[in-house]
């Protein structure tokens, strides 16, 4: 069967900026392999990130709209890790390696962003070893292990959640 012209592998939504966009990656079809941006009504598709020939190894895509940053995890040797690019809205080929996953035989499996604390969380599993979750700053610095999981754990998706907790005994009145 012919390739569908609108293939999309990974997707993320910009919920913060006034013009909401969906970002998605394509690795086949009639369009250039890359990360695209489009309106939520599917109009105005723009090639946002070009030049990463190994986007087929992308495992997870997320955004930090506050910083205007696209963050994605790429598996596969030798450069499996966390990558960043700009949400400029213009065609560009810029992407950079932010943090390498530990060792050659590991698989980066998920990425999530804590926008308030400027942290990127990423998970990977070492071949025949433990799964781990690491974190780094948005520029890739200060990478550190957040938690080590077990050999029998295999992370396939990450999501970051903040829940506002009222003070015990405080009456909340919404006028």
């Amino acid at each position: 069967m012919d390739a569908s012209p609108d293939t999309a592998m990974r997707a993320a939504i910009d919920n913060v900026n006034s013009n909401m966009y969906i970002y998605f990656s394509t690795t086949s079809g009639i369009y250039t392999q890359g990360i695209y941006r489009a309106n939520l009504d599917a109009s105005n598709r723009v090639l946002q990130v070009d030049g990463d020939s190994r986007l087929n190894e992308m495992n997870s895509l997320t955004l930090n709209p506050t910083l205007g940053q696209i963050v994605y995890a790429r598996t596969g040797n030798p450069n499996n890790g966390v990558y960043g690019a700009d949400m400029t809205g213009e065609v560009n080929s810029g992407y950079s390696l932010l943090a390498l996953s530990n060792g050659g035989y590991s698989y980066t499996k998920g990425v999530a962003v804590d926008q308030d604390d400027d942290k990127i969380y990423y998970a990977y599993e070492i071949y025949q070893g433990n799964a781990e979750i690491w974190r780094c700053d948005s520029d890739g610095s200060n990478a550190e292990q957040f938690i080590e999981l077990a050999v029998d754990d295999a992370i396939t998706g990450l999501g970051f959640v903040e829940i506002v907790v009222p003070d015990a005994g405080t009456v909340i009145i919404i006028d």
Binding site: A11, I13, I22, I163, V164
Partner: protein, 151 residues
């Protein structure tokens, strides 16, 4: 001259405004959710403590992708052939719709819409779909090639 009733109403309004101005919150609990494909669990890690606390919130879930909406109070995940929703503590898991082989899941927290990509069995490449959070069983294809969200 204002009546006593008017004065009372103004006073009540003033008190309510003052209370809401001083409305206090205990803080923000931060969680990192993850799907554990090997253990068939969905788990979360409370991040406020110096030692991250791991908690299994759902078992028997072969989740491949996961996304969350703090404001709406939902997590979403995909297993092979299905899209699911549950509350943040794992309560009330509900199947939203069916899908093919799951690739990616993203939430529009403003419009409360869910986007996902999957590879249907008859197609070579993955396609993008969307539906409302409460649009159980209904979905539309997001076709960027023909600039149509109702393809």
């Amino acid at each position: 001259m204002r009546s006593n009733k008017t004065n009372m109403a103004l006073m009540v309004t003033f008190v309510v405004v003052q209370l809401s101005t001083f409305m206090a919150f205990g803080g923000v609990d931060k969680y990192l959710y993850f799907s554990n494909h090997e253990a068939n669990t969905i788990e979360r890690i409370k991040m406020n403590n110096s030692t991250p606390a791991r908690e299994v919130i759902l078992t028997g879930r072969d989740a491949m992708e996961l996304a969350a909406d703090s404001d709406a109070g939902y997590i979403f995940w995909m297993d092979t052939y299905r899209v699911w929703r549950a509350e943040l503590d794992g309560a009330n898991p509900t199947q939203l719709t069916t899908c093919g082989w799951p690739y990616s899941l993203a939430v529009d927290t403003v419009n409360e819409e869910l986007y996902w990509s999957d590879k249907q069995s008859a197609q070579k490449n993955s396609l993008l779909w969307w539906c409302r959070y409460n649009c159980i069983g209904r979905l539309s294809r997001y076709c960027h090639a023909c600039s149509n969200r109702q393809c």
